[in-house]
Subunit: 205 residues, 2 copies
Amino acid sequence: MLLKEKNLDFELVCENPWDRKLEVFALDPAGEVPVLVEEDGTVISSAYAICEYLEDIYPHITLIGTTPAERAEVRRLVGWFDHKFDYEVTQNILFEKVFKHYAHHGEPNTGIIRTGKSNMLYHLDYIGHLAKERYFLAGDNLTLADLAAAAHLSALDYLGDVPWDYNQDAHNWYALMKSRPSLRCILTERVHGVRPPVYYENPDF
Amino acid sequence: MLLKEKNLDFELVCENPWDRKLEVFALDPAGEVPVLVEEDGTVISSAYAICEYLEDIYPHITLIGTTPAERAEVRRLVGWFDHKFDYEVTQNILFEKVFKHYAHHGEPNTGIIRTGKSNMLYHLDYIGHLAKERYFLAGDNLTLADLAAAAHLSALDYLGDVPWDYNQDAHNWYALMKSRPSLRCILTERVHGVRPPVYYENPDF
């Protein structure tokens, strides 16, 4: 999404981290995705390092902001979604329902999934609160904070686990995000054997 | 540690996040620490946003590096310690042994603590591997990667839970870190009712 918002050319290569391939560990000692491989062979791994690197070298369209205070607010919210939301919601739902299956880690734990769904409600209220005051999550403009939040929510939405009726302002913000080409191209992707809800791709949902 | 390495003046105020005080939520909607309050009233919360903000406005002594590739490597390792190490080691040991007690979340789970200690071993090997090749973790100079790693390890070392004999290169790197004034002032602090091991403060351990 960030590469697309910055109008950069790129080619996506699908890697399943649960396959634990040596080629992936050669690029990233943590064996995780995403990894960015530049044309000159430079390899950058981890979402945090990749996003800041893309801002450092392609600042023509900034997604982190210009003043130090704006940048701090964007980073606070990126941290919120990539760590707090990830830990309290995404890990509890996506890991249990999907990754456990692929990684052969046993059956989903319904108690953990329930905790994740219950935690999601106050996060939707927080998104709604920000979106009502600010248009986008960190201010007047689209930033990495919106991309981080939309990335997590679109994965959970694919599983039909986001109760959009719960907060109308959060719903309206996500409708706006769904109309961005950077999110729209992700929404056309499908996971083999899992069908998303009928409203998944529709910006009017 | 970052403020000290940058030679900035500051005053520390102790907050226990488990007290869930309204004053803390007023500064940070997540109710977490650290929070940075500037003299002009600017409030920055979350370690990620604070560290990048301090680099943005006080670049005279950089702890993230100068070239985009150097900065990406520092950030990859900061992410490694603040998320991967935190999730696999610190949360399993520090949360179970200490935070659970203060937050009245029940008894420590010895199985989780054992998992944390077992995970720590390959992290010590990784630190040793980096420190042997590079002097400091991200290269020739001290960076935020060293501070992040030392912050996690010093908390676990206070509990006597770091098996320093396991990797000599990791041990030597930490001895070097212990001699920095930025870490040394933290090592004099004590948690009420918990005595650290005798070697805790000693750079020759």
